[in-house]
């Protein structure tokens, strides 16, 4: 990823993901000058967009001219590495993406897709935002969320535990309780 040299700027990557969906509204707004300027102002250096099945293509940029470096791709077999190397994640409201990001302890802005019918996904994003585990935004309010966010105020998410289910199932099936 480049040799260590004096004066090299530390990379702070913003990773945008839409999962396996088509969410052009998010890709477009992430690629908008407003949002890119806001991200650059907040100290981020790179913007990497995973655009999924969308048709809108962002504009690549090397960022040499003192702006955000922008790159994009459609899919990868696992976004775990991209999540791990990100300083900020902006994701669609898929539960997989949300929990993968939270479990890695990364700051997260969830953007709800308003074009989806029967949008139950927004319930999860709103509930977790209420519990201060992430920020929730709509495509049109994304730049305001970025401008106003205080990542230190986010509460870390403690991973869940499946043992209660196992215990209840074991009891129902008549297995002896483990101490």
């Amino acid at each position: 990823m480049g040799e260590a040299r004096d004066g090299v700027k530390v990379k702070r990557v913003v990773f945008v993901t839409v999962g396996t969906t088509c969410f052009d509204a998010l890709v477009k707004v992430a690629d908008s000058q407003e949002v890119k300027d806001e991200l650059y102002r907040r100290g981020y250096t790179d913007l990497l967009i995973q655009m999924g099945r969308g048709s809108y293509l962002p504009t690549k940029s090397t960022g040499d001219d003192g702006s955000l470096a922008v790159d994009y791709f459609t899919f990868s077999s696992s976004i775990a590495d991209h999540l791990r190397s990100a300083s900020l994640v902006i994701s669609h409201a898929g539960s997989g993406s949300i929990f993968e990001t939270l479990q890695l302890g990364k700051p997260l802005i969830v953007v709800v897709n308003e074009d989806l019918m029967d949008n139950h996904q927004s319930e999860l994003a709103e509930e977790l935002a209420e519990r201060k585990h992430l920020y929730c935004a709509r495509p049109l309010t994304l730049h305001q969320t970025i401008a106003g966010m205080d990542l230190n105020s986010l509460v870390p998410y403690s991973p869940g535990d499946a043992t209660p289910v196992a215990k209840l199932i074991n009891r129902f099936l008549g297995f002896p309780e483990e101490s």
């Binding site: 319930e123 509930e127 209660p164 289910v165 199932i169 129902f172």
Partner: protein
């Protein structure tokens, strides 16, 4: 020796489960089953695909004869649960049916969940958010599993 039937929607979880069961010394077999309806599929053509799914499910249930059916939400599990329930009711085979509602369901149940809850097909019904347990009192609240 118990036979389990577990539904996993995401392929990534499938490989994770595969490697975890190998490390625990469990023998696990993985198979794909037909969906009753794809997202956005017309309801008219869904009648035929649902019938195909039910026939496939019936064949699987007769072949595997599980003691436990454990599912987590996709509509794919409905034909299997219905058949397991039917076998139970007519006395062919007793399978315990457990349903864990999706983590993404905070305030409302999925259609699969509603069916299995209202028709009392599931022996135990688990929800991951407290609001759902208040709304559906026969459900067990188990907190977030992830």
């Amino acid at each position: 020796m118990f036979l389990f039937f577990l539904f996993i929607k995401e392929v990534s979880f499938l490989t994770l489960f595969q490697s975890q069961s190998e490390t625990k010394g469990l023998s696990a077999e993985f198979m794909q089953i037909y969906r009753s309806r794809e997202v956005g599929q017309s309801y008219v053509t869904s009648v035929w695909t649902t019938l195909v799914a039910i026939a496939h499910a019936l064949w699987l249930m007769i072949k595997i004869r599980p003691q436990v059916v454990l599912c987590n939400g996709p509509g794919t599990c409905i034909p299997l649960c219905v058949i397991a329930f039917f076998f139970k009711v007519v006395g062919i085979r007793w399978s315990s049916i457990f349903y864990v509602e999706s983590l993404a369901r905070v305030k409302r149940l999925s259609l699969s969940g509603l069916l299995l809850y209202k028709l009392r097909i599931a022996d135990q019904f688990f929800v991951q958010w407290p609001h759902l347990q208040r709304k559906y009192p026969r459900a067990h609240y188990v907190g977030c599993l992830m």
